[in-house]
Symmetry: C2
Subunit: 237 residues, 2 copies
Amino acid sequence: MGTKSPRVPLSRERALATAVALADAEGIQALTMRRLAAELGVEAMSLYYHLPGKEGLLDGLADTVLGEIEAAVRRTGTIGVDEDWRTRLRQRFLSAREVMLRHPWAPALLGSRPTIPASVYTYYDGIVATMIGGGFSYRLAHRAVHAFGSLALGFAQEIFRPASAGGQTDVEVAEADLAAMAEALPSLAAMIATEAHAMSDPTLGWCDSQVEFEFTLDLLLDGLERARDRGASPHSR
Amino acid sequence: MGTKSPRVPLSRERALATAVALADAEGIQALTMRRLAAELGVEAMSLYYHLPGKEGLLDGLADTVLGEIEAAVRRTGTIGVDEDWRTRLRQRFLSAREVMLRHPWAPALLGSRPTIPASVYTYYDGIVATMIGGGFSYRLAHRAVHAFGSLALGFAQEIFRPASAGGQTDVEVAEADLAAMAEALPSLAAMIATEAHAMSDPTLGWCDSQVEFEFTLDLLLDGLERARDRGASPHSR
DNA sequence: TATGGTTACCTTACGTCGTAAGGCAGTACG
DNA sequence: CGTACTGCCTTACGACGTAAGGTAACCATA
């Protein structure tokens, strides 16, 4: 023992791991630069050599959580590869939920990032890939992504936001470097390309969130009505 | 002319209205006590005579937004009274969405309140009442409330939260003063009473969020599968 | 008309936050 | 043997929420 002098020399990874632990233990509001530094046996300003600032720390937290989710998905996924789309999606969402229950602050954090983290796109790429593999059209996969909403990652405000309130971000990401994302996010890129191409009115952008909202609404109302007429649970087949 | 001396003497209502306008115009992060006071031609500490503090201000904002929603619901609702449950729910959700689009900060605000505002319960009471009137069981109405999730008010983290992470709030509200809420929220109270009574394992509380989550998941997957097999939109009938 | 209390606003100040600016030891390499 | 760089530290600034207490206007009562 001898807790003086940083034997482990402090790094972005160590800082992020400690930040996750601190947020888990005492809530996200306890996660301040000074407090995190103290937890690491260090002064606040030292963190700035490994993190670009508080916002950068939060972005790193978001990526860390998404990484946990991907790891959990892969873990349960390896048991039965080549499952059908339905069990694959179920595994994905249930794994995500498990991780989110471990980190109750994570959904709000993801929803509060001013720009959507790349790891979130990766996550959605997996969803779209699964659906395309399950025989869904790109259009329906797109609608499904909206319909899942908060089931997927526990937050959902973006459904209400018309693509970052100004035709920025989403649309720009899509149109500007669609080619660049094609390799990292093949399914998502293909979906966006297809949807943008099929758009009747291109002035609206490739995604009319009002239409998606109503689609989801009808999907749920239909399902509930059917459940009412049958008696209890879903599982139509 | 003559901007000096408060001709309008400042009040909770004026403060809240100005706060909404400020958040709309410059984002929720611009809403500080000093800034809001300046907007009202007053010093920061003067606000404390009409509001209990920053948290109280945010609670007031939440209630204000919910009030706007209820007003919008009533406005569209008066056109065709005695509609069926489906159009009534559609009107409700679309009205809520309209209001949320006017106040993009509102979903995150609602999701961040440490205790759920009473006006939110009122809103959900209306949903349950409509569903019961539409021939749904209390059980199914309960599941529907979970399934709607972020469709209803644009936020959804509570689905991931096991009743405020400790068996507090929700359950306590339910069991402690269930009788007290019965008059203000008759449908919600009846639903909770019924569900709590039908609970097989009372140690879990009256609501197992994992079960609700999986119900919603299957509801969506069923609906999407049906949409895939048919070709396009929902509307089964 | 004088007086004491209440109301509504203000001033000052404290502790906490994120972080800019710069200091100062070690280590690495010419 | 410098000397430049790295990694951590100290100090300080402005903005935040708000506790404590001051002050001026109003208003009922004597």
